[in-house]
Symmetry: C2
Subunit: 277 residues, 2 copies
């Protein structure tokens, strides 16, 4: 599976996901050169210092000009707004991928773009609550699913090379439609993040109001609120773009929580046992 797939890979957004992918691309020798760009210049310099990238670009344009694979690891709102303009400049054979958590708004934004086929929508189902280049780790994608969204809208050669890239870093591939993706991600990822944020806020407020000491918490609470440390700037646009499916996922959870509440309130052991099974 290894061997150079690309001449130059450009990582636009060298944080947890972009930086981890850069690390693996280097480890597995998948590109001759890795170029990086980051909105926060200090993060780009740090990525260079950490050896995640070979070079840092001053402007995204330099990445677009020099790279045959451009990895767009940006907040989903920025991505949907800018992808059409990036594709305007796509050269023959050049490939663009994203790694974002929502897909309908993104594929809608480029639906009729003449260079739509140069873009392969990807969602690696991997991550941690950390962010920035220092959060980049080896083998983040190994044995995790990477979802390819609406791949029939992309050039077969592009899908082929992108599939090889993900398989080379150990990911397991699956394909689905944007609609299927956003519904799935709402249940498996976005709604659980809202619960974690809401739980973290519940504890914070209880601490403030009742002098509850959260230091006493065991590992369960830490596990439940871990992902509430994920950056707001990344998650807010995800919640907005996937609003409909997210609200419905929250409502389904609510229904189940109320069933538990009722079983506990009525001390209905049989029901509670069924619910917990």
């Amino acid at each position: 599976m290894n061997g150079e797939l690309f001449n130059a890979v450009g990582i636009v957004g060298i944080g947890l996901i972009g930086g981890s992918l850069a690390k693996d691309i280097r480890t597995f020798g998948l590109a001759r050169r890795i170029l990086g760009w980051n909105r926060t210049r200090a993060h780009a310099e740090r990525a260079l210092e950490l050896g995640l990238v070979d070079e840092v670009a001053d402007e995204i344009e330099a990445v677009l000009e020099q790279c045959d694979l451009v990895v767009l690891a940006m907040p989903v709102n920025v991505l949907a707004e800018r992808l059409p303009r990036f594709l305007d400049k796509a050269r023959l054979g050049q490939i663009f991928i994203d790694v974002g958590s929502t897909k309908q708004a993104l594929v809608d934004a480029v639906k009729d773009h003449p260079n739509r086929a140069a873009f392969v929508a990807c969602h690696p189902m991997a991550g941690t609550e950390r962010s920035g280049p220092d959060a980049a780790i080896d083998n983040l994608f190994r044995n995790r699913f990477t979802l390819l969204i609406d791949p029939q809208q992309s050039a077969p050669e592009a899908v082929d090379k992108v599939s090889k890239l993900w398989k080379s870093v150990g990911a397991v591939l699956a394909t689905m439609t944007a609609e299927e993706h956003d519904r799935t991600a709402a249940l498996l990822s976005h709604m659980p993040h809202v619960l974690a944020y809401a739980l973290a806020r519940t504890i914070k407020e209880a601490e403030r109001n009742q002098a509850l000491n959260a230091r006493f918490a065991g590992g369960g609470l830490a596990s439940m609120t871990r992902i509430a440390h994920s950056p707001i700037s990344m998650w807010q646009p995800i919640f907005k773009q996937n609003k409909a499916y997210l609200l419905s996922a929250i409502d389904v959870f609510e229904k189940h929580l109320q069933a538990f509440r009722k079983a506990i309130a009525e001390e209905d052991d049989t029901l509670l046992n069924d619910l917990m099974k």
Copy 2:
């Protein structure tokens, strides 16, 4: 801190907590002999095989007769029912501790017992989602709080020895009333467990109804549902005994979740930002 504190320690219930405490008691040389009893005989045999205990007792009575420290690691409903009868047989200087997750019902059950002073109510805020003797691990209590409940109701020498025991295994001690404990535990532990169970059920049902594939989930969901693997038989009595505080903790969480839902539905970025901070 080390050195023998007890002649013989009896572990009644050699699972995750009882077994881990037995391991540490041996490691730190805190007792000459460790005797074990378990309702499921196979678990007792397994504990012996794992070297968690020196000997397995056929009857709890043998543990009560032979041990100067009796650790009661049983479901909280069994504990509240049986502790008075155990205390009936307490010998001079003998100490009983529990490691349960609820305290009001327990301390109420022995409030007027003539041997109340022999009992020190303890709650180590440590654990994992695993259970049984194979779940026992070294240093489970290190750098975690162990809460001593209403210690003024226990003999000062008992509190002193029990405090030395917990400190010897690396725990940090804090004291509180049973009421304070149950309110705190509802927010920091019991309600988060209900959320985890409700989330696990939400995903299971969605999988069944909509052919959602939960295999696609990233680490976030696993982290949020980890504690839903905790044994039902242990948690059901906890939910029942701490019903009032638990229901109120669920309602506070509900309020916060609804605030998030509203901010997402109305795309109120300022509010959402405030809530997520």
